[in-house]
Symmetry: C2
Subunit: 200 residues, 2 copies
């Protein structure tokens, strides 16, 4: 049985959490890991409808994601959480919960400078936030507390998404949370030989 873990992506809107998730999921599945993604928006629909963006509501939302992540990862599932999760205290609280349940918590700071984000501004949200049209917009009109010692730091300012994904896979492999790629290839080869033997 593979050991469960929670890969917790934190970072500003547009920093690349979702892009990185989409890059990682097929690679993790290819390593034989059961994967669930708890995406900030999806979770708001399923678990937190009615909650807003005050500190209290954000904390409640993150605690709910943490509750589900811990249930899954203590059952051997690899969970990717991709939510802004701006407050350090709550991220640390979730870490403690996950670890107390025998699973591993890996904090990934998905970093990008505000300049980069404003210049990208894929959804046009930063422009609106800077113009004062969106209240409680993290990084502009609401605080973001960067992790002080995340297990992994990736930067969409300076790295390609493939490079960031490779960093994460390396970390998981070095910590025994996923099988090395060559190990799986070897198992497949052995299984092929075994079934060829049976066919004779």
């Amino acid at each position: 049985m593979s050991q469960g873990f929670t890969l917790w992506f934190t970072g500003l809107s547009g920093a690349g959490k979702t892009t990185l998730t989409n890059e990682l999921v097929p690679q993790l599945k290819a390593r034989g890991v059961k994967i669930e993604v708890l995406d900030g928006d999806e979770v708001r629909t399923n678990l937190s409808k009615g909650l807003g963006f005050s500190k209290e509501d954000r904390d409640t939302n993150i605690r709910r994601i943490g509750y589900v992540a811990r249930l899954l990862s203590r059952n051997g599932v690899g969970v990717i959480v991709a939510a802004i999760s701006p407050y350090k205290e709550i991220r640390d609280e979730v870490r403690k919960d996950v670890e107390a349940n025998g699973a591993t918590f890996v904090e990934v700071f998905v970093q990008a400078s505000l300049d980069t984000l404003v210049s990208r501004d894929v959804k046009g949200l930063y422009k609106k936030a800077i113009a004062g049209e969106i209240a409680n917009f993290t990084g502009v009109s609401d605080p973001y507390e960067a992790p002080e010692s995340p297990e992994i730091l990736v930067s969409s300012d300076t790295e390609t998404v493939a490079e960031s994904a490779a960093k994460i896979l390396d970390h998981l492999e070095e910590n025994g949370l996923i099988q090395p790629a060559y190990f799986l290839a070897q198992q497949e080869t052995e299984a092929r030989f075994a079934s060829a033997g049976e066919a004779q």
Copy 2:
């Protein structure tokens, strides 16, 4: 890998959902099943703080439990949900979601007559509800829609908790959701012989 399932207990307060859960959990674990219990009260604390007991709030609460149950059971976990879940439509909606995710939904109607419940009234709640002191109390001042064709019907009026648990284990075994007890005993014996062989 064992196939995931959701064992959904529905029934009035005091009908025996929690007692039956406590009876079943160790027996399911002994069969090698990964088990998570989503208890109505616990889930209200972790996922649904602030929700009340109107139909809308109850439906939201049950949908959230359903969301978590489906995430777990599609990853091979056996989930026991023990919540009153009074409305048929929402239970059926959750069933569809779980089944659409490749897991099995087993509805267990934990039945007890209102007379029995009022005479037991362990927490003194029925007395208060009948006196009009609790609004929206299922079965007294709020509706309960019994399942029309649950997979399993157990009755704490006429069965011991051991008998009810045995019914459920039989159903799960017959449907290939848990291993037969003798199969596990056999595996253990084989493992013992194998390790004895290695020791020589």
